[in-house]
Amino acid sequence: MFYYGQLVIGPAGSGKTSYCNILQEGSFKRNIQVVNLDPAAEYIPYKCAIDIRELICLSDVMEEFEYGPNGGLVYCMEYLLQNWDWMQDQLNNIAQDDYVLFDCPGQIELYSHIDMMRKLTQLLVNSGFSISSVYLVDINFIEDDAKFLSGLLMALSASMTLELPAFTVLSKCDLMKDKKKLKRYTKLHKFNEESEYINQDEFSKTYKSFTSGISELVTSFGIGRLLCLDTTDDESIDNILGEIDYAIQFGDNLEPDDKLYDQAEQQL
């Protein structure tokens, strides 16, 4: 079996659920199924193909075991991993050419602190999934350079643990009216060279070389190249999907290569 899709991650409130919903509602040349992996989700706007809450739900766990929210969430995700048969059964109902979005919980601990999400991704890959991670960064992170870098570092910290093709998407771009500013931040961004504060701010001066090293790492990981998500603009979504399709080799992208390959083989 072979499946394609995205693991949609990012901090609480970054717009993961809305993104999944918009993709499912729109027409983007694919049949989109959404899997809810957030045991704490309260309201879900999209049609759920699979819902972790049918297996286990956070409020029950918190009540039953008197866990705090974090402990409870960790318990739920562990439970899912231990009961992967359940997930596998559900996944078997998904058609081969469906495109699957996984709407994930936002807690950063699940990524860097305990490598639970990595275990989950490995199970998905073993089940035949070709997926990328899509980390959503809220547009309000482009307030100033330091905050932006801070947001990207969070993205890198989470994405790198998953060992998947990683994409960073700037969400809620419809809220940004200053298009010039948007452009400045979404271009490959070298903080050290053109930072607006460089000559005034003692902090930037002191940590200049550190910042430069860090932003280079962010950039070389591909995290620094941001894709814009403007839910009022289908083109921005097409663009995101196009980039990801290429990375996970979904759809038509594969066929020309196959033909070329066949031709080459015949010639030999």
Binding site: P11, A12, P69, D115, T161, F203, G213, L217
Partner: protein
């Protein structure tokens, strides 16, 4: 006219930040023990903690009932923590006044395990900013060394701490906690000896290997720029130089953070600090 503000140079506020379960609360307890010859105040800002191993002088739970917030306002656990912090930050001035009047030199502040709540909320911002405008303020970022066992999670944790650093722009000390756990040697070796990290990546042959050169450079910069403590909050090992470490971080605040704060205060464009604070406060009140 310059806005007047007076930094209490003889004091210091230490924010203890870290992911859930890394040992922040235990660290506070141990730090208090280690600093027993200094006048210090313990402040708990975690509204949801059930029991504490230390006696805080200031406690968010005294004025805010977390459970009640949840049931009365039908809030989820994270929402309730956020609301509790918001409510508390409205009475922040009283706390600051109390600290300023007291003869306590060191304030140790325990924060909630929901790291995002403190880091990215308006109230977390307000608390750290207000503190840093009143006295030298530094961050101790706590990492659980047992959760850094492969190059992947190790690097991920370090990068997250960098994210915290750029968010707060305050002097930061990295605390590798739980070093009493037997397998703490490896990650510490990676930090000190970059070649061993490259070697580890080679062995694992993950796709991170392609980035290994860049990461090693980052590691080097990281080690050069941050004070790293290797401690066990349980046994008390690794705290020998704690006074020195606090003093150094405090000096960094004086040389860097304070200079920027003063500049900001004098800058015509940004002179509206009070207005900013008011706006944040307003926002919180509206929530």
């Amino acid at each position: 006219m310059d806005i007047e503000f007076q930094i209490k140079e003889n004091k210091v506020a230490i924010l203890i930040i870290g992911m859930a379960g890394t040992g922040k609360t235990t660290f506070v307890q141990q730090l208090s023990k280690q600093l027993k010859n200094e006048k210090h105040t313990l402040i708990n800002l975690d509204p949801a903690v059930y029991s504490l191993p230390y006696e805080p002088e200031e406690d968010i739970r005294k004025s805010i009932n977390y459970k009640e917030l949840m049931t009365k306002n039908k809030l989820g656990p994270n929402g309730a923590i956020m609301t509790a912090l918001n409510l508390y930050s409205l009475q922040l001035n009283q706390l600051i006044e109390k600290i300023e009047k007291s003869d306590s030199n060191i304030q140790i502040i325990d924060t909630p395990g929901q790291i995002e709540v403190f880091t990215w909320s308006a109230s977390g911002n307000l608390i750290s900013q207000t503190l840093s405008m009143s006295m030298p303020t530094i961050i101790f970022y706590v990492i659980d060394i047992a959760r850094c066992q492969n190059p992947n999670s190790f690097m991920s944790n370090l990068l997250f701490s960098c994210s915290i650093f750029y968010k707060f722009k305050l002097p930061m000390v990295i605390v590798f906690n739980k070093c009493d756990v037997a397998d703490s040697k490896q990650p510490l070796e990676w930090l000190r000896n970059y070649d061993s990290f490259t070697e580890a990546l080679k062995n694992k042959d993950t796709y991170l290997s392609t980035l290994s050169k860049q990461m090693v450079l980052t590691l080097e910069e990281f080690y050069n720029n941050f004070t790293v403590l290797e401690v066990s909050s349980l046994t008390g090992q690794g705290f020998e130089k704690i006074n020195e470490v606090i003093a150094t971080a405090k000096q960094e605040y004086m040389n860097i953070t304070l200079v920027d704060i003063q500049k900001r205060m004098n800058d015509q464009k940004q002179k509206n600090y009070d207005k900013q604070i008011n706006q944040i406060t307003q926002k919180i009140q509206n929530l």
